[in-house]
């Protein structure tokens, strides 16, 4: 049962990982960060990623179960993938048994990174992070 810091360090061991963070998407707060972030400012990146996560979480087109609760065992949206010219951003929602709005954010170099592997691993990490 790892804590936030162990979880982030584990994410950084993925091939191509540039940086990672645990972020609250309601407030935009970075609860933990490791490595680099685009522009070098983790707090700003967290606030921007939170906006993206919030839109996905709140719009019916992406979160189809309208009455689903984001703090139950399964989130209506599992993850978001942004691909740009040289990197991927992977946002993985973290289900908790208490009321929360948390996701893991992994920034991955496109050449060295393996998106499929990162998706699987990040999902496992999100589950282990809150294992009771």
């Amino acid at each position: 049962m790892p804590g936030i810091d162990e979880c982030l360090l584990e994410a950084m061991r993925l091939p191509g990982a540039r940086g990672a963070a645990v972020v609250d998407w309601t407030s935009g707060l970075a609860l933990g960060t490791v490595g680099d972030s685009p522009g070098g400012d983790h707090e700003r990146t967290a606030a921007e990623a939170a906006e993206l996560a919030r839109l996905a979480a709140e719009h019916r087109a992406f979160a189809p179960e309208g009455d689903a609760d984001w703090s139950e065992n399964a989130c209506p949206v599992e993850d978001l993938i942004i691909a740009n010219r040289d990197s991927y951003h992977l946002l993985r929602f973290v289900p908790t048994t208490f009321d929360s709005s948390v996701f893991l954010h992994l920034w991955l170099a496109r050449e060295e990174g393996n998106l499929a592997l990162a998706r699987i691993r990040l999902g496992e990490m999100a589950g282990r992070l809150v294992l009771g």
Binding site: M1, G3, I4, S27, E58, F98, V102, R128, L131, G132
Partner: protein, 281 residues
């Protein structure tokens, strides 16, 4: 040719602007961080516990505490929590005890604890002119879970004020009992917002709703300001009858009739909201 002289319109009433102090939330807190102090800082809005200059716990009457967040949604049962406090409270190791006894995962405790800490600190560090006290040496019963530097906490608190201000500049809905609009605009309400909306009864404040939901109070304020901006809800004091009794706590009974905004005409409501928003800028 006739000239019609228009009388100049009466001046609009001016309201106090929302104040966002940019830095220096608490000079005393900065000094205590500098000297790596241990103890409890008591301000009008609540308390911050420091350990060697870092914040280890925050509590405020405006927010549900860590225990409420964990118990309300069933992550922990109340007996398990009481047992942990009884077993490990005296030696300030409740957090460690909860994890070691398998009641909660380390990551889950850290996430909930940090959420509660930043949430309470937002209210503790709110504007206040009341005297501030610090008691040296006092440790919190939870024990260290995930200490936060004072500078990070202050930065986040200022950012949160700006976030709320950006959503809707009028802070009136933060503390007042809330009412629903009589004829709200058509709006898609998110699941988290509808949980808030369902509990609005003309008596409950945002803080009461947070306690009922077991949700950090700042999270409720974000949704409340969004709903206020959309004209779906309003503070109940606006030009109408304020409920006579203040809510006594989480368990107050809802009002029998649902009070609504005094202005039933949606156009007038819209104009008033526009005026309020412009004044608050």
């Amino acid at each position: 040719m006739t000239t019609v002289r228009m009388p100049s319109p009466p001046p609009l009433p001016l309201r106090q602007r929302a104040q966002i102090p940019s830095a220096g939330l608490s000079p005393m807190l900065d000094r205590l961080a500098g000297e790596r102090a241990t103890g409890v800082l008591m301000r009008e809005g609540g308390m911050l516990y420091l350990s060697e200059g870092q914040v280890v716990y925050a509590e405020s009457p405006a927010t549900p505490g860590l225990d409420a967040l964990l118990i309300t949604r069933g992550t922990l049962d109340a007996d398990g929590w009481r047992e942990a406090v009884a077993q490990a409270g005296a030696r300030q190791r409740v957090g460690r005890f909860l994890v070691d006894s398998g009641r909660i995962g380390e990551g889950a405790l850290e996430l909930c604890h940090l959420g509660a800490l930043y949430d309470a600190a937002y209210f503790v560090l709110g504007p206040s002119s009341a005297p501030v006290h610090f008691r040296y040496g006092e440790a919190h019963w939870l024990g260290p879970v995930h200490p936060v530097p004072v500078a990070a906490l202050e930065r986040e608190t200022v950012r949160r004020r700006e976030l709320l201000h950006g959503i809707w500049p009028d802070p009136a809905t933060d503390e007042a009992p809330l009412v629903r609009a009589a004829r709200p605009a058509k709006l898609t309400v998110t699941p988290r917002q509808s949980a808030v909306l369902d509990r609005i009864d003309g008596v409950r404040t945002a803080a009461d709703i947070s306690r009922a939901l077991g949700r950090p109070a700042f999270h409720t304020l974000v949704d409340v300001r969004r709903l206020a901006a959309a004209g779906v809800i309003a503070p109940s004091g606006v030009g109408g009858g304020r409920p006579s009794a203040e809510p006594a706590g989480g368990g107050t009974s809802p009002a029998p009739t649902e009070p609504t905004l005094p202005h039933a005409d949606p156009h007038i409501t819209l104009l008033k909201r526009l005026r309020d928003a412009l004044e608050a800028l």
